[in-house]
């Protein structure tokens, strides 16, 4: 399952600690790396994933910022242009609206606009995802905005293993990389090797192999798709489940290879379905595997509304295994 063999000990750790371990490796490995964001130092972030790092690395390596998202991204862009390797934190992904100019017009474009002379090795961690009753402004998945921006890379770790490995890979990358975390995954347990390792950016992960159906997932939806795959198996559908891991670059090849084998595909993400990144994946599948397809590519995503607060509504809002199965059955006529 992993691209990197590791001799070191592997433990079962929650996603939240895997994040901490990833950032710790980055700070250990790169003298020019530092962390900056709202409540990341003293509080260790509101979800606690930087806890302990202030004590371990000191106030010269981890900085609480004012509530100034434009300032945070600007700080990173300027510091990176001047040779540092910033790790920035945007507490909730919903807040990228506050700094989309700095993200889209400065961070993503600087290298190109300057004819390649600027190098911006920036890592941005941010927390996406609905399901915690945090309502419309603390629950969004906005990877589609970022994936549409040449100059950025965007990864979405679905497991503790990937969280740590993708953070390390992001920080070693010489480009700006967004690591889109998910708040509902924080308690998820999984194997995490000790020490540094990389999960390569841009390589999808075939988490379950299957013969006659392909499900491509982003981030946390991996777990839902695996559950759905079990249910589908009982219906005679042997689903291959591919965690995209990265939306930019996107591993078209892995997906197409699978669809050429299975002939039927679905894309699942938490973001609003309309205009979401699933549209890009679906468009690519039909472009590259048209003759292999026995049915249209199905898309599962959130309905076309902001994220509702009420648990009664949010429960039906967020895509889950049940919905995946329903859509798959419709699509396949079973």
């Amino acid at each position: 399952m992993s691209a990197v063999a590791s001799e070191t000990k592997t433990r079962q750790l929650p996603y939240v600690v895997a994040i901490t371990e990833g950032v710790r490796e980055v700070l250990k490995e790169q003298a020019n790396a530092f962390v900056a964001g709202e409540d990341v130092a003293g509080a260790g972030s509101v979800y606690g994933y930087y806890r302990g790092l202030l004590d371990e690395f000191g106030a010269d390596r981890i900085y609480d910022t004012p509530i100034s998202e434009k300032g945070i991204i600007g700080l990173g862009v300027g510091a990176a242009a001047a040779g540092l390797r910033p790790v920035l934190d945007i507490m909730f992904m919903d807040f990228i609206g506050e700094c989309m100019d700095e993200i889209a017009n400065q961070m993503a474009k600087m290298r190109f606009m300057f004819g390649g002379s600027a190098t911006l090795p920036i890592t941005v961690l941010t927390m996406a995802g609905a399901g915690a009753n945090l309502a419309a402004q603390h629950s969004q998945s906005l990877e589609a905005w970022l994936a549409h921006l040449p100059g950025l890379k965007v990864v979405m770790p679905a497991t503790p293993y990937d969280a740590k490995g993708l953070i390390i890979a992001a920080a070693r990358d010489d480009n700006p990389v967004f690591v889109v975390l998910n708040k509902m995954s924080l308690a998820m347990m999984g194997d995490v090797p000790e020490g540094p390792y990389e999960v390569p950016i841009g390589k999808a992960n075939v988490v379950r192999t299957g013969k006659n159906y392909t499900i491509v997932t982003l981030g946390r939806m991996l777990g839902q798709a695996l559950d759905a795959a079990k249910q589908l198996a009982e219906l005679g559908i042997d689903a291959e489940v591919i965690d995209a891991r990265s939306v930019q670059p996107f591993d078209t090849e892995a997906v197409i290879k699978s669809v050429e084998k299975t002939h039927r595909a679905m894309v699942v993400h938490e973001a609003v379905r309309f205009g979401g990144f699933g549209a890009e994946i679906a468009a690519q599948i039909q472009e590259h595997a048209f003759d292999y397809l026995d049915a249209p590519v199905a898309r599962v995503g959130a309905p076309f509304s902001p994220v509702p607060f009420s648990p009664a509504l949010e429960k039906v809002y967020v895509p889950n295994a049940e919905r995946i199965v329903v859509v798959a059955r419709e699509q396949l006529g079973i």
């Binding site: 945090l134 309502a135 402004q137 607060f309």
Partner: protein, 339 residues
């Protein structure tokens, strides 16, 4: 630009003493907020209120001292810590608890919850999950008031932490440029989440930012409802007269943690500091003053508390008995289908 400091020094420091009726009104608003919040905190701890809850306890004098000057046609914008503002603006307990519970009878039909609680009819243009989200919207409402040549004002409540957002800067500049009937009320409780003010800005007084927009900056003791009342009254009068906005900084403190009651259990505030501020509980201070001035006896005050508490029990029951929103309503209200 004028920079006025007000601190409570005892009786008789006020230019214009509020009437007894106003004092009682302020008192009741504070008591309503306090008990609503205390109960909400418990309900959250009991797992009855989902999501995040930012309690206003400790800051009641600000909401009450400002809001007593306003009518439903004056607008306010609030923050993530918005219950107190809505209550002081006339919010109904039934519909508020129902919203916190995510019920269809809530102010937002359960779609908003604590962070988006609002009521347009009361001129409460929303709590806001985005720090700094309110000031530009209040500025826009003030623009509408001026456009219509009405005498209504719009008040933006925001925190010390929010004063570092670009949105505050742009809103303040525009409000002053257009001489809008806006008041920027900064509730400086010394912290943005777990970060002390000294670690988020290099100034002690947010009011120092007013001069840069060409508006007066006023600092007031936010634990003293009468001081807030007077300072807000002046700012609101200026605004109604077409003299433009004011930045009013209220020095205050939140008695509970940033989120919920005990929050994440971090030690970012010393016990001494918390105790020191709790000694200046705005309701206790105010009740002592009212008793001294023979406006409200201890017994009469107790009656007010009892009344409010009874109302709260009824409201909680209402909320608990209210239905969850129907799943079919999910896609309602995304768009207006009128226009």
């Amino acid at each position: 630009m004028a920079r006025i400091h007000k601190t409570v020094t005892g009786d008789g420091f006020l230019a214009k003493q509020p009437t007894n009726k106003t004092l009682l009104d302020i008192h009741r608003r504070m008591v309503r907020i306090r008990h609503f919040e205390e109960r909400a905190g418990k309900l959250m701890e009991d797992g009855k209120i989902p999501g995040a809850l930012h309690l206003y306890v400790g800051q009641e004098a600000v909401a009450a001292g400002v809001m007593v000057h306003l009518t439903a046609e004056d607008q306010i914008t609030s923050t993530h810590r918005g219950h107190g503002h809505l209550i002081a603006k006339g919010g109904d307990f039934d519909r508020m608890y129902a919203e916190l519970f995510g019920r269809s009878t809530g102010y937002c039909k359960g779609k908003g919850g604590s962070m988006h609680i609002s009521n347009m009819d009361l001129g409460m243009l929303g709590a806001n999950g985005i720090v700094g989200g309110g000031p530009p919207i209040a500025m826009g409402a003030a623009f509408a008031n001026k456009f219509r040549k009405s005498k209504h004002v719009a008040v933006a409540f925001f925190g010390d932490g929010a004063s570092n957002e670009g949105s505050f800067h742009e809103a303040a500049n525009m409000a002053s440029l257009y001489k809008l009937p806006a008041i920027f009320v900064c509730e400086n409780n010394g912290y943005g989440e777990y970060t002390a003010q000294a670690n988020h800005q290099a100034v002690v007084d947010v009011a120092d930012r007013a001069a840069g927009y060409g508006m007066p900056g006023v600092i007031v003791d936010g634990m003293d409802a009468v001081a807030v009342y007077e300072a807000a009254g002046e700012a609101i009068a200026r605004a109604r007269k077409g003299q433009g906005p004011t930045l009013l900084e209220c020095k205050t403190y939140r008695f509970y943690d940033h989120v919920g009651v005990r929050g994440m259990g971090l030690n970012y505030r010393t016990d001494d500091e918390v105790k020191k501020w709790m000694k200046r509980d705005p309701i206790k201070l105010f009740e002592a003053r009212l008793a001294e001035q023979k406006v409200l006896s201890k017994k009469q005050a107790e009656a007010v508390h009892a009344e409010v508490l009874a109302e709260i029990e009824a409201a909680v029951a209402f909320a608990e008995q209210s239905p969850m929103p129907d799943v079919a309503s999910l896609l309602d209200d995304v768009y207006s289908t009128a226009g």
